[in-house]
Subunit: 364 residues, 4 copies
C-alpha cells in the first residue's frame, strides 16, 4: 500500500533507497508565496549528515539537496515541491555477504517476509538514510511555522544513562551531541567512546519543544495533535517509545499532582500554572509549550559478534562491518524536529476551517 | 476537519457526545460474510461500562448496542455497519456550574479555544464515553482477527506504583482490575481505596499482547505497524506515553543487549531468540508476539479542591462533584484492545496486495 | 473497502439499506457555530420523498430526519453531526421472488459477484434510498454555502426528448418536475404518463448552476473542481454521463469558438465574455457561474416483461412489480444539488490554506 | 492542499512544471515482484510525445524516463517507484509577453486568482506536459493489469465532426491519429489540416475499452468504479464530458431499451445480452467490457486573434504564437489509457479484502 505518504493538507511523500540512484520527497500542498531555495534546506540536511563529528560515522554522503519543482522566481507556487538527493558514491561495494543473512535488529527479515525479497544494499528502503527526505520536507515546514511565530526545537535529552540536568538553549548547537547541557555532553561523549571501543552501540532519547502554538490545534478524536505526533515520531525507524509532557511518569501520579491548574497571567489572560500536560489537553494545543519525547534504541549494526541465521538455514555468528554510528541520536535530532514540524503544520492548516466565523471572514 | 475517522480499508467513524441523544460508530469496509450480531459486541461494551466494580463509578449507563445496517440474515454484507448506543437517562441534570469554569486536566478550555464554545454536558465530545463507540468497532475487528488466528489481549500492567510481577492470563478476567497477577490486584485495590478516601485519583498503565500475527504486516515508512498503533493508543484521551516492546528502556541499552538474535526453532524455521523489539522490526511484524503499552494519567475529575479560572476571569477553587472513577484503567483495558485490533486489522487487509504473487493468485 | 466516505475536510459517510432499520449520514468536519436544526434539512428530504406528485411512486416514506449529535444549543459544535432516518413501514413484504433472480439494469448481480450474497430487500444498499442520506448532508452544505454568498440550483433539463427551451428560475419549484420552463414541464408530464401506461420508464438530465463561487476553488491536478464534481455526480446510481459547461459538444468545436475571451466588466474588473467553460478553467473556478450536467438512465424497474436468469440458472421472463417511479429525474434533482454542494464546500474549505498570505493573516 | 495525489492502495503523486528542471511521478503502493524497467514505460511516453506526426506540434521533448527508486535487480520492491523526466531544452525562451496577459481558455487567470501569481513559462503546472508523469504511472498499471488478464485500449473516437464508423483494433496503432477506422482517420487528417490553415484548433473524443475485468470491482457508494473513472478522466485538463456505456444518450431512452437483459452464455454462465451499461452496474464491474468516453475541447492556444485583458487592465487582441497542437486528441489517447489503468488497478487491489472468504484463504 501507500505507506510513504503522510499528512492531509501539507502532504509529504518520500521515496528512495539507501544505495539507489537518488532519494527524495514530494511536498504536495505547500502554500504559495513562501520564499524558498536550497539554502533554506541544506543546513537541516547538514545536521543529519554523517561525518560531522567523532561520534558519527565517517561515511561521506554529499546530500546536496536540489529543488526540482514548485518554486518559481524564488517563491513557492502552491504546486508540488519535488526535492532530490543523489546517491553519488555508493555503487561499487560488495553486498554479497550482507545479502546472505538477516542482521539482528534490522528489517532485513521483515522486508523479505512481506515482499518476497529485498534491496539489501545498505538496508535499502529501511535505511536511516530515508530520513534525509523527511528532513528536507521538515525544513520547509519549519520555515513556514517560524513565519507564524512557532519555534520547533529538538535536542538530545539522554544518551545511555547520561541525561541532561540543565537546559541552556544556545548550548544545543554548540556541541556535537546537540545537548542543551555542556557537562552532560562531555560525559555522553566519553560514554560513546567507551561503547565504541567495545564494538557496541548505545541508545538515547530526544526531546522536542514547540513554542508559540496557539491554543486550538488538533482534531478530536483520532487526529489529536498528540496522536498524530506519536505516529510521526514512532515512524522513525529506531523509536520505541513516545511521550507527551510528563509522559509515562503520569502512570504513577495522582490527579491532584498531574492536573495543571488554571490561573491568570500578568495580562489577566487565562494560563496554566504548570505544564504536566505538555501543552495538549484533549488532543488540542492549550497554548503552553508542547513537549514531546522519543526513545531510540541503539544502532543495531555493531561490530561485536552476534548470532543469526543465513540463507542456508544455518545458525552463524556475524560481525557487522562498515562505518556505522555508535549512537544514532545526534543525527536523529533534526529528524525529530522535521517530523514534529510537518505534523504540526498540517494540523494548523486543517484548523483554519474549524469555525463558521473563520470561513465567513475568509470568504466574505 | 475530519478527525473522527480512522483507517484506510477497515475505516471507522465515531460520533456523539456524552450527554447527547446517542453515540455510535460507522464501520466502512468490513468484509462481507462475517457472522455478526449484537451478542458479539455487547460483552466488550460491558467491560467498559461503569458500575461494574467498587473501583469504578456507580453511574449507570445502559450501553445496549444496536446494529442499524450492514448485517443481513446474520452476516455482514460488506456495506457500512452502523451501530448506536442511546444515552438514556442523562437529560435532567444541571450543568450551569460546570459551564462556568474550566476543569483542570480536561479539554474544556481547548474546545472553547478551537470552536468558540463547547457542549459542556459531561465533557461533550471529549468525554471518555466516546470510547464506547470505539469498543463496538473493536469487537468486530477482534472477531475477524480471531478467525485469522490472531488473539489480542489487553490487561492492566500497573496502577500507581503497584505493578504486576506475574502473568497468569486466565487471571485477567478474574479480578475487577483486569490484572494478570492476583496479588498485585489486591494491592492495587487497596491503593485505589486509599486514593478515593483522599478525594483524589490515580494513573496506571495498560499492556496489550497480540499473538498469531504473521510476519509482514505494516507499511513502511509512515504507516508502520508501530506508528499506526502509537497513533491509535495516543488518541485515547488520557494516554500520555506509548511504548513498543522494551519501550523507553531501550534508550539506556546497548545494541548488543537490545538486538534480538535470530535462531532456528524446533521446526528449523527462523525465529528470534528474544523479543525486545516487541514483535516489530522496521515497522513490520516479525512473527513474534506484538507488545504495546500505554501510560494513562489519573482521572482529572477529583473532589479534592483545585484552582481554576471562571467565566468572569476570576481565579476560584473548585471541587468536581459527581460520580467519577478514581482510576480510569480498568475500564480502559478494553479500549486499548479495541484500538489495537482495528489498527492491526486495517494493516492486515492492506497487506493483501503487497506482492504480484498475491494479486495474481487472487485474480487468476 | 471504505467506499461510503467522501471528502477531505467536510467529510460525509453514509450508511444504511433500503429496508434495514434505518439509514443515515455522519458529517465529520462541519465547522462550528452554524445554526442548525432538523427544520433546515427536512425540506430538502421532502423534495426527494416519493409520493409528492403523480409522476413519482405513491410509496410512502416518512423520512423524518433526526440529528443525533454535533449540535448543541442550536449550533454545530465542530464535532461529527450524525443524522438518522428510520425505515418505518417496510418489514412485512415478501421478497422471496426478487431474491430468486437478477433484475436487469440493477446491481443485484454485481453485489452478489463482489460480496458473495446481497441484502435483496428493495435493492439493499444499492437502492436509490441511500441518496436520502446524501441529501441530508447536502442540506447542511447548502446552508453553509449560502452564508458565503454561494447559491446552488439544480433543475430538470430534460425528460426523454423533451428539453427545456427557457429558463425561469422561480418556475423550478412551481412544477412537480422541477423544470424552469412551464411549457416543457407540461409536455414532459404527458410523456411520463404515456410511458407509464406502456409499463415502461424514461431517462432524463439534470443541470446544476452554482452562482457566487469566487475564482480560485479547486486543487490541481487531480482534485480539480470539475474532477471532484464529476465523481460526485457519477456516484449517483443512475448517472451515465457528466458534463461541465458546453460538455460533450466541445468535441466538435474549434478553439476560436470554444475559448471564452476575457473582457472588462462595468467595474473594470476582469471577466469572461462568454461561459463555454462552465465556470472552471484548469480545474479551478474562474468566477463565472459553474454549470454541471448529469444524464440519468431510466428507472430500471419496469412492469414490462424482461428476460433474465434465475437462481436455478434458467432464463426466465420477469415483470418487476411494486410502486416504482416511471422517471427518476424529479426526485434526483435535490440529490444533484446535494452532491454538488458537499463537493464544492469541501474544496472551498481546503482552499483556505492555499497561500502564505492567507495563513499569516489567519494566525498572526 | 494536496491535489496532486490520486488513489488509495496504488497511489500516484505527480509533480513538475512544463518548463522547470524536471517533472515526475511517485508511485506508492506498487506491488513487489513486478519485472520493470524503463523499456516498459518509454513506449507509452513516446505515444504522448510531440512531433510524432504532422498533426502534432513539431516541438521536441526528449521525454526519456528514468526510474530512480523502487526497482532492484529488475523487479519492483514494493517501495515507492520514483520516475523522472528532465526538461532539457526549455531554458532560453522569452516569456515576458505571455506573462503580461491571460490566455483565453487557459488556466493563467485561475492560477493567479488562487495562488497570487503563477509560473507562466509554458503554462507551468497547468500545462498538458504534466500528463507525461501520469502516462509513466499508467504504463506500470497497464503492465500489472495485463498480467491479470485485463486489457486497456484507448483510441480516438472523433475529431471535430468526423467520427469512427468502424472498429478495427489493429488499425489504432497504424495511423497517426489512433483511430480504429482508417477511412475516418484520413478524413480527420484533412480536417486538421484545414483547421490549421485557419490558425485554429479542433476538439474531439476518446474512448477506452477495458476487457477482462472480473465482475465485482468498485466500491459503493462513492468509490464506484464509474465514479472514480469519471474523476480520473475529468482531471485531464481539456476534458469537459465523461460518459459510461451509452452515456448521455440514456437520457432519451426508455427502461426497456436501456436495461441489459441477462442470458446464459455458451458455457451456461450468466451474461448480459447487451452492454448499454458499459460494463458497470451499481458502480461495480459486471464482467462485460467496460466502456468509457471523454470529450476534449480544442487546444486553447491558437494563432487566430483573440481578445483578452492584460496586466494593465486593458482589453487587447492577442495571437498565441509557438508550436501548438492543432488538436490535442492523438497525444491524449495514451493519457486516457493511463488514467483508466491506474484507477481500475487501485480498485482491483482494494477489492481483494471484500469478503471474509478472501481474507481467510489469504491468511489461513
Amino acid at each position: 500500500m501507500a505507506g510513504s505518504t503522510l499528512g492531509t493538507i501539507f502532504k509529504i511523500s518520500t521515496w528512495g533507497e539507501s544505495h539507489g540512484k537518488a532519494l527524495g520527497v514530494v511536498i504536495d500542498g505547500c502554500p504559495a508565496g513562501l520564499e524558498l531555495s536550497e539554502a533554506d534546506i541544506q543546513p537541516y540536511l547538514n545536521r543529519r549528515k554523517p561525518g560531522q563529528s567523532a561520534y558519527t560515522t565517517p561515511r561521506k554522503e554529499a546530500d546536496e539537496i536540489e529543488i526540482l519543482s514548485g518554486v518559481f522566481e524564488g517563491k513557492t507556487t502552491g504546486t508540488p515541491i519535488s526535492m532530490i538527493l543523489y546517491n553519488k558514491s555508493q555503487q561499487s561495494k560488495d553486498y554479497s555477504e550482507i545479502a546472505s543473512y538477516y542482521r539482528p535488529g534490522h528489517a532485513d527479515y521483515t522486508f523479505d517476509a512481506k515482499y518476497g525479497f529485498r534491496d539489501y544494499r545498505g538496508g535499502g528502503r529501511s535505511s536511516g538514510r530515508e530520513t534525509a527526505a523527511r528532513v528536507a520536507a521538515g525544513a520547509v515546514a519549519v520555515k513556514i511555522l517560524k513565519s507564524l511565530g512557532v519555534d520547533v526545537t529538538a535536542y538530545t535529552r539522554s544518551i545511555g544513562d547520561i541525561q541532561i540536568s540543565d537546559f541552556v538553549k544556545k548550548e544545543i548547537m554548540n556541541n556535537m551531541l546537540y545537548m542543551p547541557d555542556r557537562e552532560a555532553a562531555v560525559k555522553a561523549g566519553k560514554l560513546i567512546e567507551a561503547v565504541s571501543k567495545e564494538h557496541d552501540s548505545i541508545g538515547g532519547s530526544i526531546e522536542c519543544i514547540i513554542n508559540g502554538v496557539p491554543a486550538g490545534i488538533g482534531e478530536p478524536v483520532f487526529d489529536k495533535l498528540d496522536a498524530n505526533l506519536a505516529k510521526a515520531l514512532m515512524s522513525i525507524g529506531a523509536v520505541k517509545g513516545v511521550e507527551i509532557g510528563d509522559g509515562i511518569s503520569v502512570a504513577k501520579k495522582r490527579g491532584s499532582e498531574n492536573n495543571d491548574f488554571f490561573c491568570l497571567d500578568d495580562n489577566n489572560n487565562i494560563a496554566k500554572c504548570t505544564n504536566h500536560s505538555g501543552g495538549i489537553l484533549g488532543g488540542i494545543s492549550d497554548g503552553s509549550d508542547i513537549i514531546i519525547r522519543a526513545s531510540f534504541k541503539a544502532t543495531p549494526s555493531i561490530l561485536k559478534e552476534q548470532q543469526t541465521v543465513n540463507k542456508n538455514g544455518e545458525e552463524i555468528n556475524v560481525s557487522i562491518k562498515g562505518r556505522h554510528d555508535p549512537v544514532i541520536i545526534p543525527r536523529a535530532v533534526v529528524v525529530v524536529e522535521a517530523m514534529t514540524a510537518v505534523t504540526l503544520l498540517d494540523l494548523m492548516l486543517i484548523n483554519m476551517s474549524s469555525t463558521m466565523d473563520n470561513i465567513k471572514s475568509f470568504y466574505n
